[in-house]
């Protein structure tokens, strides 16, 4: 249950790692495909499906990870905002 709660709270970081891992696998498969052939006509589809899609997925994962950081920071600012509002009202010393 704790794991499910953690996964739910950190879904964006979990998704980031999953997407980055998928991107790394795509890059490896692309390299494997390209290195297995000497014909450019056979290599170019691997460059696209392996190399470019891999880069796309790694970038997407990085974006998800940094978004999670920004969201955490925003949440802390929410708390600060509430505490300042309470201070201004005189309900918190």
């Amino acid at each position: 249950m704790e794991l499910i709660g953690w996964l739910r709270a950190q879904w964006d970081r979990v998704a980031a790692w999953v997407v980055i891992a998928a991107g790394a696998v795509a890059l490896l498969l692309g390299w494997w495909g390209v290195s297995g052939s000497g014909f450019p006509a056979q290599q170019i589809p691997y460059v696209i499906s392996g190399g470019m899609v891999g880069l796309f997925l790694v970038g997407l994962g990085g974006m998800l990870w940094l978004s999670a950081d920004l969201r955490d920071e925003w949440r802390k600012l929410d708390e600060l905002d509430q505490r300042l509002a309470a201070l201004a009202d005189g309900t918190e010393s």
């Binding site: 170019i44 899609v53 796309f56 970038g59 925003w74 929410d78």
Partner: protein, 141 residues
């Protein structure tokens, strides 16, 4: 709970990611369907365009979020400083002449001060502060 992004930014990110991903798939599909290298290079460019579209969407998303967080931090710091500042002194007491008598200025100076302000103590001052001078940031008259 709020987020540092607006609905329009979320829609832009989704659009850029979906369009970029679709261009990548189209590029791969087109390139793998032909054996002509010249035609494949065209599809390779399509895929590269998809990568650029998706990357631009992601960068815009992150920059927007970063800017929102920084703007909110600055606003909160300003509000905190305002709350932490000492309360303003009461205005002139009944024995003093006028409120403006509590303020002095140096000849040719752009600011007016309290007479006890360390920036004017020991200097020749005048009580005629006029209307064009701005209050000193140190003593906050």
């Amino acid at each position: 709970m709020t987020l540092p992004w607006r609905v329009g930014t979320v829609v832009s990110l989704y659009l850029a990611t979906v369009v970029g991903g679709a261009l990548l798939v189209a590029g791969w599909y087109g390139a793998s369907g032909t054996g002509d290298v010249a035609a494949q290079l065209v599809w390779l460019n399509v895929a590269a365009l998809g990568l650029i579209v998706a990357g631009t969407g992601n960068v815009v998303w992150l920059l927007y979020g970063h800017r929102s967080v920084r703007a909110r931090q600055r606003a909160l710091v300003a509000r905190g400083m305002e709350l932490a500042a000492p309360p303003r002194r009461p205005t002139a007491s009944p024995t003093s002449t006028t409120p403006t008598a509590l303020r002095v200025a140096i000849h040719g100076g752009a600011r007016f001060h309290r007479p006890t302000c360390p920036l004017v103590v020991g200097k020749r001052t005048t009580a005629r502060i006029g209307t064009k001078r701005i209050p000193c940031e140190a003593c906050r008259p």
